[in-house]
Every structure is written in structure tokens, then in C-alpha cells.
Symmetry: C2
Amino acid sequence: MSSRSRISLALRRARIAQPIRPQHLRPLSQIRWQSTASTEDSEGVAKGTTGTSKIVKFTSETYPEIKRDSRFAEITEEHVKHFKELLGKDSAVIDGVTKDATDDIEPFNGDWMRKYRGHTKLVLKPGSTEEVSKVLKYCNDNMLAVVPQGGNSGLVGGSVPVFDEIVINMSRMNQIRSFDEVSGTLVVDAGCILEVADGYLGERGHIFPLDLGAKGSCHIGGNVATNAGGLRLLRYGSLHGNVLGLEAVLPDGTIVDDLSKLRKNNTGYDLKQLFIGAEGTIGIITGVSIICPQRSNAINVAFFGLESYEKVQEAFKEAKGQLSEILSAFELMDSFSQDLVHNVTKNKRPLESEYPFYCLIETSGSNSEHDNEKLEKFLEYVMEKEIVLDGVVAQDETQVKALWGWREGIPECLGHWGGVYKYDLSIPINELYDLVEDTRKKITDAGLIGEDEARPVVGVVGYGHMGDSNLHLNVAVKRYDKKVEKELEPFVYEWVAKRNGSISAEHGLGLAKKNYIGYSRSGTMVALMKQIKNLYDPNGIMNPYKYI
Amino acid sequence: MSSRSRISLALRRARIAQPIRPQHLRPLSQIRWQSTASTEDSEGVAKGTTGTSKIVKFTSETYPEIKRDSRFAEITEEHVKHFKELLGKDSAVIDGVTKDATDDIEPFNGDWMRKYRGHTKLVLKPGSTEEVSKVLKYCNDNMLAVVPQGGNSGLVGGSVPVFDEIVINMSRMNQIRSFDEVSGTLVVDAGCILEVADGYLGERGHIFPLDLGAKGSCHIGGNVATNAGGLRLLRYGSLHGNVLGLEAVLPDGTIVDDLSKLRKNNTGYDLKQLFIGAEGTIGIITGVSIICPQRSNAINVAFFGLESYEKVQEAFKEAKGQLSEILSAFELMDSFSQDLVHNVTKNKRPLESEYPFYCLIETSGSNSEHDNEKLEKFLEYVMEKEIVLDGVVAQDETQVKALWGWREGIPECLGHWGGVYKYDLSIPINELYDLVEDTRKKITDAGLIGEDEARPVVGVVGYGHMGDSNLHLNVAVKRYDKKVEKELEPFVYEWVAKRNGSISAEHGLGLAKKNYIGYSRSGTMVALMKQIKNLYDPNGIMNPYKYI
């Protein structure tokens, strides 16, 4: 047996015992809120700044410097009556104004990380674009502030109210409108859940060009409003390229009817692009038209251990060169992230030994023989050159899911101890991991990391979409703590700004980063953005206190 | 020998005798203008509406309904003095105001199709973004209208003046600013020629994600300003996805410093998208940052003959399915287009027999063995199923170029007789070719087509980027003629509007389609666009009389 085939065999040995299923976000209804009397200690629930309390502080308490804008009207019974008449059915209005509906409303007030919590007393669920238009026009005429809300799976507090803004929840607009199999053009309601659309496409030989951990609960409208990046961007590009058309409603009720199904359409300013990544600050997206690629017959996933970040870069360069058109993901995970996943899930690790870095590579193509040959050649090369120290290749669908679980499971596992400070950054690839090391050192030097209860930090981990130069720096904590925050900010933002990176690669600004945009954008750019905001939302009712 | 290998051998037989080199647009300096006394009958030069005259009519004469906007100032000697001081060198100002410079200025007044001709007496060539800023601010303050001009290879009259607008030509800003081999990010001046950038990238294992016939003269800034589509869109997507950052100057001199090199950057409204496809109506693009894919090792080109448009659709569906990730072009050419190319070039046809339709397929991938195998399997399938009647595969680079010449040579060959009415349309794929047949019938019924000099039309041909549902409907004429125009318009636009297509897939609106945008966009959308125009260019000095 030649040395080449031995390496290959070793790589193909299946070592995965207990597949983890990628955990999607739990539906909001399953998350317990402070208003319930339960004493159960749910996993992944932040314990608030008070340490052991399960109470999530109001955003208005956490950030007392944010004041309610007095230009906005308070919601009255008359307003509620109007909305009830407008939306017809009872289920479309959750009314905490004329009666006590705290339990029903709380899930719409808080985010899934339990970091933000608003005071809204009214949730509206319009069932059509026309209803969205009428609701917004009324709000605009009456100076009622609103928060557009999709699956509420955001990480920056963008989709929940700060004060008493009305939540406009899009979950009732959840239909697939049309799909054309020849062109691959899908048209959906904004409230259609990503996984539902992807499943629908799967039955028709296509995939959605975006994939992310929250796919089981996030809405496509929300994905577009936040310009979500995710796992498939490396292969299929950004939503700015894939979204062919949008339907949206401006605060004054104007319906932006830009729902083109054409791949090419050069007839005037591409206004829909402004709504992609606007985080609901200039209008509400109600419909999306998007080009969807064909589903690949052959999917391969490999998982490696590497000795240094330098080797990770080498592996990435080789993967780009050798796997080229079939490379569909190149994900980075450091040992700290994998240790935490292991601690929480107790699953058997994919590799026998432990390494400082791990990578997950996915290929997808039309011919499994060709893809296997390319992948095997690549694996032999990186093993022989000692770029990679060990690796496994998934042998079936279950193992594919199991390997992905070690990557996709990170965000949920990190929440196990209480809370997570999450930073989503674009950094030039050669310096990308330096930030994790510098941050870990800073937190360690400050004496904030340790097992004893007095030290808030559990771990400082780095992972992310290497292929897009996109690092997720996460600091897992037992509780949210101002001392930790002070070490992290503005340190992280200054570090990124110095390298011309982005302080928000794919998660958006929301409330979390409103004050930090200056680290990634010049004053001129911010002024130009404010001009756009004022143009479309002169009353400022759309998702106030956030974004820019 | 099995039947399968016989088919395969037949296909691989090289039948191409005289390769045509794809003809790029001639540099402007080589095009002769009416002001020269030459009697030489250059190929590809429209003869004007007067029949045999070589004089290109002024746009203001062709469209007498367009009136000069009296708000704009007339250029004075004082203005010219200011610009000369501002731009320093003599070569940066072509001054037809204080002296006679007609010969020098004429190439900047007219388009390469010889359909449009302006009256400018001043051409400015700024050498830096700061100079562009100072020039624009001065023009804005003094109500001097301007036309941004790149390689002037546009097809809709967008890059030449109508009256005395100052031409701001970007050819002096032609440098490659930086390239990062790991991420593939290229940063260039707006005036960098597409082919120069692509050549530079080629030496570094990458390609520009856009390719089009005019690559030898068009500027990247112009490509972005017109959101050019071209030959690689099928594989690499649109500029809205690939452009990572822009530097642009607003009419008031503000420099929009949005030249991000990051693949992911969700920090505020994506303003750069407004400039992509704005055709110079809200500002001038001065720099472009763009993500460039790796160059493929293996390029294959095949050329087929097919008996009907139904078969073309079948072939496309099979190509998408079987060639999937390596398919990089699927181009359609009808027999009329190929006959005209043959008449002009006298080159030997790629196939022995003639067919109603031809397709060109290109694959590009990282492994030539794999790609050959996929292509051969595809070819065997489409031959056996009689989807395709005959075909050849290029055996070397020369043959690749020769086959592409039968597609890329169409626009230039069509101009051989005098002029071309060009329509660039997005149409649902199943109805795409119907328009060519309906138009040909209409022109024939009107008695306008024929060999005798009295009949202006030489041929009605259809070709284009099948993969993007993008049809180029071209009507080759001996002379531009109002009778032909009356048959074509608004017929073509109404036909497309009925099918929810686009009246401008990739060429833009310019002057040619300013009045027809209503066929593709609602009144609401046009009103929203005008709002953007007014926001950035309240004085209306940027490329007036055009776009929306």
C-alpha cells in the first residue's frame, strides 16, 4: 500500500460516534420569561446582570442614557380600536393596552439572547402588504413609533422595542408566492421562514442561496433587512447580488413595487438595495424575489485539526486553489470553541487528538466522483505537506450533520453558562485571529476569567467564516457584567478600525452598535446615510434609537 | 467502435479554419468624424439619416423635442481659465471655447455607433479624485452641466453630451491601486480599462468578474456606472454583488469614501449601490473595489447547431443540470446573426451545415479532465436525444477565440451596412425568441426589409445571454430611418412590458430609453427615483436630458 493511499484511508476512517443535530433556535414560545413564576433553570438563558436572577433587565435600565423620544405619541385605546378594525381578526392584534396581556406580549419584547427587553404593549400582525401599508400610514400620521419584527433571531437588539414602540410582526405573511424552475427565481412573503423556503426548494432541485444557524426561525424578510451573510456567501455571494426584487412599504404607506423576477434589469436607480441591510429603519419589507442556485448532488464535508493559525491560512489558500468551483464553505473554529461545545454536548470529538485550530470544509458539486477525487487530492496534499495534522471526511448525511454540529452548535453552547458578548467582525485574513488572542490576554490580565463564581468570564473564543474574512469573537460569561464590557469596548472596535475592518460583518448595527459606526464609517458617510433616513422616514418612527 | 464514442469523436473533430479574433471597439482616435474631409468609406460607420452622407446628425436635430435647459450657464472664457488653473496641465483641458478645437473635441461628442452627437466645446480630464471634486463643485456652483465619460462604448447615448454639457473624461485616472491575492480584492481607478485590469489579474491567477465585447476600450468606472452585465454574469453574478466598495464624487464636491475591501460589511445603508447603474446622474465614480474570482485552469468552448428555439431551451436546461458549477456561458445566436457575420468576415463556418439556431457553451473549472468528462457526457446526451443536431468543441486557445468570434463578432458585423437599432431586453425565457420573430414579421409586412437601396432594413436578428434571459434584438439597417423606428417603437417596449420583462437588461437607459422607463417601472418607482436624483443633484447638472 502506497503512502498516498494510506493517508487517504486514514482520512476516510469514520470516527464520529454521536451525531449532534444542528440546534435551531427554539421558538419564542418555548423561552421562559421573567413574568412566569417558573424556577426551572433553562439552558442557554442569560441570568441578567444581577448574577443568579432570571430577570432580564429592561433595555431602558441597562442603557439609562437612551431616553424615550417625546415626539412619539403614547398608544391610546383609540389607536388600538383602529388597529383592531383595520386588521379584522383578534389574532392579528395582541393588545396589552386595554387589558393585561403581559405573558402574550413578552416574547415580542425580548431577544433570544435575553440581552434586550422592551416595554411594548401592542403587537400587530398584518396579513397582507396592503395591511402593512395602512398600519404604517396610520402610525406615521399619528407619530406612533414601530419596530418591524421577523423571526426575532437577531443578535444586536434590532428587532425588539426599546420603549413602547409598536411591534409589527410579519409572521402571518409567510407564504411562498411563486417559483420558476427554469430560472430558479423564488418569490416569497417576507415572513416566510428560511428553512421552509429551503425545504420547498430542495424538493425542486434548488437551494436558498443563504444558510445560517437560525434558519428554523428566522424570516427571509429579516434576512434581507439585515443583509444576513451566513454559510453560503463564499459560494453564492451576498444578498445584494442574489435578491432580484423587493416589495416594501414606506412609513407614509407607499408600496415600493420593485418585485422584479429578472436577473438583469437596468432601468433606473436600484432602490431595493437600500432596504437590504437597512434593518427596518426606512420601511418594512413585505416580499422578496431571489435567484436560487441548483442543489448539488454531491456534498462532502471534511473536518481537520491544525497546529497554528498560519497553517489555517495555508489550508485556506490550498482549498481555494484546488477545490475552486466546488468549495462551498471554509469555517474556522479554535480549540476554545470546540472545548466549550464538548463540555456542553458531551459528544465524542470528531478527531482522536486535540489541536489548537480546527477547520470545516464543505464541497458541493454536480458529480460526486469528481468531487471526491478533488477533495482526496487536496487532503493528501495538505496532509503530506503537514499543513493539516489530522482530519476526517463525513461518510454519510448523518456524519455531515454531525460535523456541521461542531461548527453550528457553537453559538448555542456558548450561551450555556449565562450570556455571551458577541462580536461579528470583518478583519484582513492574515490578522484575523490576532484579535482573539489579544482579547483573551486582556480579559485574563484583568482577572476576569476563571471557574470560580466571582470571575464572570468562562472563555474567549474565535470562530467564523474564514472564506469571507469574517470572525465571530465571542466571550461566554456567567452573567453580563459592566467590568467585562469595559475591557471589551471600545477595545475591540478600535482594534478593528485600526485594520480598516468592519465592526459589523453580517449581524448588523441594531441597538448594540449604533454608537460605534464611526469605527467603520467616516463622518461623511454617516451624514449621507442620515440623509437617506430623513428622506424616507422624516418623522423617525421606523425602529428608533437604533442603527445610525 | 461504440455509437457513443463515434458521436464523441465527431464532436471533437476540429473544423475551424480561419479563427476570427474578437474585434474590440476601435479607439476613438481611429474613428473618422464628419469634420474630416476624408471620403474613405469606413466599415461599421453609420451613414446618418440622409442615406449616403457620412455626416452624423446632432442629437439636438434628431430629437428636436429635447430643448436645452435654460437654467444651465453657457461656458465662458473665465470658466475655461479656471479649469486650466485647476487641472494644471494643458492635456487635461481640451478647449474649444477660446479657440477652434473641433477635431480634437469631436470624438468626445459622438458615440461609437454614430447615432448621437453633442455640441460640447470643453473636455476636462481630471487626474485625481480631488480634481474631480473641485471640478464638480465649481460646475455645481456655476450651474454648468456635465457628462461623465468613461471609454464611451455605451449603446444608449449616455456618455456623450446632447448640447454644450462639459465632458468630464476619466481616462487619466487609469491606475490599478491595489490587489490582494488571498482575498482576490482589486482596487482600481474608475478610468482603468477593463482589459488592462483583466490582463493584470490574469498574471496573478484571477479574472475580472465581468467580461464584454468592448473590454478593450471600456472603463471599469463606466461598467459600474452602467451596471454592465456581459458574458460572465451567469457564473459570477452581477456588479451589485461583486463590487465591494466605491469612491465617488457628488455634484457638490463631496467625496463618497466607501471604498471598502471587505466582503462583508453591514454598517449602515449600502449607498454605493445607488451609484451602480446610475449612469452618472448623481455623481462620478472615481474608484472601484471589486472581488475577483480565481482564473480557471480549464476552459472549454462548444458550439452547436439546433433545429428550433424549443431545442435551445432543452439544451439550456440540460447544460444547467449537467454542467452546473462549471458552466460559465450559454449564448444564443440565430441563423440570421450568423449569416451576417459570415457575410462580413467571410470566415469558414464552425459547422458543416446551417441550422436555425446556434448555441455557444463555455465551461471553466479547476480540473480539465473532470470538465472534459462532464462536457463530453453532456454532448453525448444532447446529441443522442437529438436536442442538438451538430457541434464542435474547441481544441485549443485559437479555436476558443474563433468560436467566441461568432458570438462576440455579431455587434460589429451588424454595423457593416450602416447602422443598427439595438434593443437589450430581459424576457421570460420561454417567450424570449418570439419577439425576434414578431419583429421580423412586422418589418417584413411593412415592406422595409430587402436588398435594394430603397428598403432600409438588412436583417432582424436575435442573440444574447440565454443564461440570463437577456435577448439582444438587433435590426441592421443601411441608414437610420424614421419609418423603421416607427415600426419598432413603441412596439418592442409594449411587447416586453406585457410579459413583465425589462426594456433595458444591461445597456442602461441613457438618452435612448429615457422616455420608455414607464414600460418597466411603475409611476411610484419612477417618482421614488426622481426623489433620489433631486437629493444628490438638486441643480440637475449631472448628465441632463437622460436616464429618468
